[in-house]
């Protein structure tokens, strides 16, 4: 169970939060001008990377505030938490975090227990 540091309330158990999927997906300004395909993309398609993921959380059983996080989805480690107004951190900031001690490769689900 992840521990998440709400920027407003501090560290809390993950069970107090809800995940809001990919961050930085902006609602189109003028939906009517979009093609069916593009609109479908906005409504249904979200990135789903294995590794660095920019995502949204809301402290739903606490202060009810939304914020962004950068998490390594192959280890669940939260690498950074930032408020909505803050700038999206560069991916290069997290270059070194991609491998877990379990040797989790970028693609692959390996549950390794033994050091290679």
């Amino acid at each position: 169970m992840i521990i998440i540091k709400c920027p407003y309330c501090g560290e809390r158990d993950q069970s107090e939060f809800s995940n809001g999927g990919e961050a930085h997906v902006v609602r189109p300004n003028n939906p009517e001008s979009l093609s069916d395909k593009d609109w479908g993309e906005y409504v249904f398609f979200r990135n789903n990377p294995k590794g660095i993921f920019y995502e949204r959380w809301v402290h739903s059983h606490g202060c009810k505030k939304w914020f962004n996080a950068v998490r390594n989805t192959s280890t669940d480690e939260i690498l950074k938490i930032y408020k909505l107004k803050e700038k999206r951190p560069e991916i290069t900031e997290f270059k070194n975090c991609l491998k877990s001690p379990s040797g989790e490769p970028k693609v692959g689900s390996g549950n390794f227990t033994v050091k290679k």
């Binding site: 995940n19 999927g21 479908g40 993309e41 398609f45 789903n48 989805t73 689900s109």
Partner: protein, 416 residues
């Protein structure tokens, strides 16, 4: 069939100390080129290769698996099989599978232990009742064997169930007698063995790193064992499908989430039917070995770690203990997780895409084990003919642009 299994073969081998069994499958090195490459050695992938070889006469096929056969969700699911889905499209697809399940052990001469012990979907409130009655009626018109049972009939089937004295009483259930469970690993092994016999190269411990395309055509796959050429590639990698698709520049509407399950210690038979409850999140059946196999809910965030949060386990066990108080005296033996690929409308994608020769079979989320033979069968058709089988035509990727979704959320919160 070269390897023929029967009681006679077992007795014969027992005399030679069980030292003379044949290998189930070869361990070939990948060739430079295949006619079709299937990425993912789960049930769906292996089944697809089997049907491609058997029904469509494709000769030169490889299944590429990054771990060991069945190491994905095929090897870690709660094995519930049923076809009582609400929408026609789903009912046709899943029942196609159930019909294949019914002969699969004979077909492959490998016992999948498909056990049609019936599946109950419990109703705990008025809304559940309405939803279930509608589903029962739709299923009936689609030729399925779903029926409505009242509380007493449920109690007769599962006497240890606490129906009244609980926060959300059991008010009735949908019951599908043809539903049940099967031995998950055997599905992968059985398909693998027979596919291998038909000449399919099953390549384990080989990870596909990327799909190479040129001008909207596939060329082959980059793997940890080198580049392998092919004009047709079927991706059946469940949780990892969108990661692979991305290497070919394709976006899929999938989110990969942990889904957990657990087993208890084995006990003598105590529950003879598969029982599912969406409202209180409890899915339970008892395996042939005697352990209770219990499915939990999905975790609420994307992850590729094959494990989820403890709170989800707690949620499930609360519901189990509530429905079956005596299980409070039993113990959890092991818990684990898989990575499921969830689609916005809780229905799969079995489809071609913008890249020629690239096919996807994914989005099965929490409930694709039951579909294994059916999905493999129609996917093989789609790849061989380069056009969907009529059963999987509605499950095209294009439905997310035109809006023709097959929304099965109502029918199943977690569709085990």
């Amino acid at each position: 069939m070269k390897k023929k299994y029967s009681i006679a073969s077992i007795v014969k081998n027992s005399f030679s100390n069980n030292e003379r069994w044949e290998k189930m499958w070869r361990n070939p090195n990948p060739k430079k080129h295949y006619d079709v490459i299937i990425v993912g050695g789960g049930g769906h992938g292996l089944g697809t290769a089997y049907y491609l070889a058997k029904e469509h006469g494709v000769k030169n096929i490889a299944v590429i698996e990054k771990g060991w056969l069945g190491s994905g969700n095929t090897g870690r699911n709660t094995t519930i099989i049923r076809s009582n889905y609400l929408w026609d499209e789903s009912a046709y697809l899943y029942d196609h599978a159930v019909k294949l399940w019914e002969n699969l052990s004979e077909d492959l001469n490998y016992n999948m232990m498909f056990s049609q012990r019936g599946v109950l979907n419990l109703a705990h409130n008025e809304h559940d009742i309405k939803e279930i009655k509608r589903r029962v009626s739709a299923n009936r018109l689609n030729g399925l064997d779903t029926m409505w049972l009242d509380k007493n009939e449920v109690k007769d089937l599962v006497p240890i169930m606490n129906t009244d004295n609980l926060r959300y009483p059991v008010l009735g259930a949908a019951y599908q007698p043809r539903g049940g469970v099967a031995r998950h690993d055997a599905v992968a092994w059985g398909y693998a063995m027979r596919a291998d016999e038909l000449g399919v190269d099953i390549i384990q411990n080989c990870e596909v790193k990327g799909i190479k395309t040129d001008n909207y055509k596939v060329e082959g796959v980059e793997t940890t064992k080198g580049f392998i050429k092919s004009k047709k590639i079927g991706v059946v990698a469940s949780g990892h499908t969108s990661v692979l698709a991305a290497t070919a520049g394709i976006r899929l509407p999938l989110q990969s989430r942990p889904l957990q399950a657990l087993v208890s210690e084995p006990i003598k038979p105590v529950i003879n039917t598969v029982v599912m409850s969406n409202a209180v999140h409890a899915y339970v059946s008892q395996s042939d070995k005697g352990e209770l196999v219990i499915g939990a809910g999905t975790d609420g965030y994307n992850s590729f770690t094959q494990r989820g949060g403890y709170d989800v386990i707690e949620e499930t066990v609360r519901a189990i203990v509530e429905l079956y108080p005596i299980f409070g005296k039993m113990k959890m033996l092991r818990q684990w997780g898989g990575i499921v690929d969830i689609c916005p409308d809780a229905s799969p994608i079995i489809s071609k895409c913008d890249v020629e020769g690239l096919y996807f079979n994914c989005g099965w989320g929490t409930g694709g084990f039951k579909a294994t033979p059916g999905s493999a069968n129609v996917f093989a058709h789609t790849i061989a003919k380069d056009e969907p089988h009529k059963i999987n035509a509605p499950f095209a990727l294009s439905r997310f642009s035109d809006g023709r979704l097959i929304d099965e959320h109502g029918a199943a919160a977690v569709a085990h």
